[in-house]
């Protein structure tokens, strides 16, 4: 079953086309890697999917339901956008954990706020909150942080912070989990622990979209690769097609540059 279909997505900033007519689809459990040079529109694409930017053209269809259509006459209310956002999770490059909360509270906060707005909350308050906390503990355990529940973000290493951020996104059970260069802010020795967590999610059939510069990681984990260039999806296909066999001069030039950088 197609879990996500993106059709003709476009986004402009003051006349500059950051994302141009990007279309792709994802099956449930697939992992999509988005690669390309800085400024090629990868991050903007993710931000559009999470409604941090409003696309000017195109459609976003999740599980067969159109959740965004730029042509829509009625537009979308804040609460609709908020609801649609929950189909997606987003892990930021810079973690963006909430500094005043412990790791556990960072993970439970959004779930608690959502639960509070449900009608039956008052009746089963204790039970619901216990359920949320149990879920959070389980997820933090699965990213290897069961001994860091009550640490504040500043007491954690970058890799641990990013794993809390992943747990925070997972706690809301998004259909599609997006990563925006999840390891770019990390020291090389901390990159591994975050990539390991993402690999374990892939093994559990989590549908993911990963913007990354880690080429060997991308080719190892992904079912599909999109190469973006100047806002457009220049090529898409299996990792082998894009990363090994592509005859496209642009892709070859990009991969050469990355190789040189890795070799340094």
């Amino acid at each position: 079953m197609k879990i996500l279909e993106v059709v003709g997505l476009g986004k402009k900033f003051d006349g500059f086309e950051a994302v141009k007519d990007v279309s792709f689809s994802l099956e449930s459990g697939e992992v999509l890697a988005v690669i390309g040079a800085s400024g090629s529109g990868k991050t903007t694409l993710l931000r559009c999917l999470n409604f941090l930017e409003t696309p000017e053209s195109g459609k976003i269809i999740v599980k067969g339901k159109t959740i965004f259509d730029a042509e829509s006459q009625t537009g979308y209310s804040d609460s609709q956008i908020r609801k649609n956002r929950l189909h997606f999770g987003l892990v930021f490059q810079s973690f963006n954990l909430f500094p005043q909360y412990t790791a556990l509270k960072n993970v439970t906060l959004a779930c608690e706020l959502l639960a509070r707005s449900e009608p039956g909350f008052k009746m089963d308050k204790v039970e619901i909150l216990a359920g949320i906390e149990g879920n959070a503990r389980e997820i933090l355990d699965s990213v290897g942080l069961s001994d860091r529940l009550n640490h504040y973000p500043h007491q954690l290493s970058g890799g641990q912070q990013q794993r809390v951020a992943i747990a925070r996104a997972l706690a809301l059970h998004p259909d599609i989990l997006c990563f925006d260069e999840p390891t770019s802010a990390l020291d090389p020795e901390l990159t591994g622990e975050v990539l390991k967590v993402i690999r374990s999610l892939a093994a559990k059939q989590t549908t993911m979209i990963i913007v990354t510069h880690e080429m060997s990681f991308a080719s190892g984990i992904s079912d599909k690769v999109i190469f973006m260039d100047e806002g457009a999806a220049l090529a898409q296909g299996s990792p082998k097609e894009i990363l090994c066999d592509s005859s496209n001069a642009r892709i070859q030039a990009f991969l050469r540059k990355i190789d040189v950088a890795d070799g340094e």
Binding site: N96, P99, Q100, L113
Partner: protein, 235 residues
């Protein structure tokens, strides 16, 4: 004699405290409102004006609510508090024909408006200093703007603005003495009466002791709050 003076000054100090407390109670929420007003992004001409040129582009970025609020802040911060006290108390009475407020109320109203404008600028600085990523993280987790403000931004904001706010609040303690211009019988009014009526200078110094003690207590309170918020390390 000392007991008598103390009793009198305490009476005046109670009035000073009324103005101080009232200004905090009304001035802080009002300041938050003014801060949001000054950051309002409503720009009605953004999409409607299509023309080219410098004037059109200025018009497109024109934000009327933010503009009006910022002009208001300019007027309030740009004129003496003393003048504002007189205008609000006597001006309003002349305009309407009879007294609108009693003296203490007029003082609290004026101080609240005046301090709200100073608070607003501090709040705006604090809000703008919270990284945008915090707000966006809240959004992608499905929170409403109000939830993000109260659950994510607010505490970080309070931590950031504490030093600046403690300055303003300490200044406010001493500014309450200005209310004497509209006949509020605050503490210095009583102190000064001893000078004019009995040629006694020491009660005036004694009023200073009240201020020092009060500001000392506030300083300890601010230090306590800052210590309490120490666990938040802004990343």
């Amino acid at each position: 004699m000392l007991l008598d003076v103390t009793k009198n000054l305490l009476e005046g100090f109670a009035v000073s405290c009324q103005i101080f407390g009232g200004t905090l109670v009304f001035g802080i929420p009002l300041g938050l409102l003014v801060a949001f007003g000054s950051m309002n992004r409503w720009a009605p001409f953004k999409r409607t004006v299509k023309a080219e040129g410098r004037f059109a582009s200025v018009l497109r970025s024109f934000k009327p609510i933010a503009f009006i609020v910022r002009v208001f802040i300019w007027i309030i911060r740009g004129t003496p508090l003393l003048l504002q006290l007189i205008v609000i108390f006597f001006g309003a009475a002349i305009l309407i024909g009879h007294a609108v407020f009693d003296r203490v109320t007029a003082a609290i109203v004026t101080f609240s408006i005046n301090y709200a404008c100073y608070f607003a600028v501090i709040f705006r600085g604090g809000i703008e200093a919270v990284p945008k990523g915090q707000f966006e993280a809240g959004l992608v987790l499905g929170m409403t703007r109000a939830q993000i403000f109260t659950k994510v931004t607010l505490l970080q904001l309070i931590k950031r603005i504490m030093p600046a706010m403690s300055n303003e609040i300490i200044t406010l303690v001493k500014d309450t003495a200005l209310a004497r211009i509209i006949g509020v019988t605050e503490i210095i009014y009583y102190g000064y009466r001893y000078v004019t009526a009995q040629a006694l200078i020491w009660p005036l110094f004694y009023t200073g002791v009240f201020f020092l003690a009060f500001v000392g207590a506030l300083t300890l309170l601010f230090a306590y709050i800052e210590r309490k918020l120490d666990y938040i390390k802004i990343l």
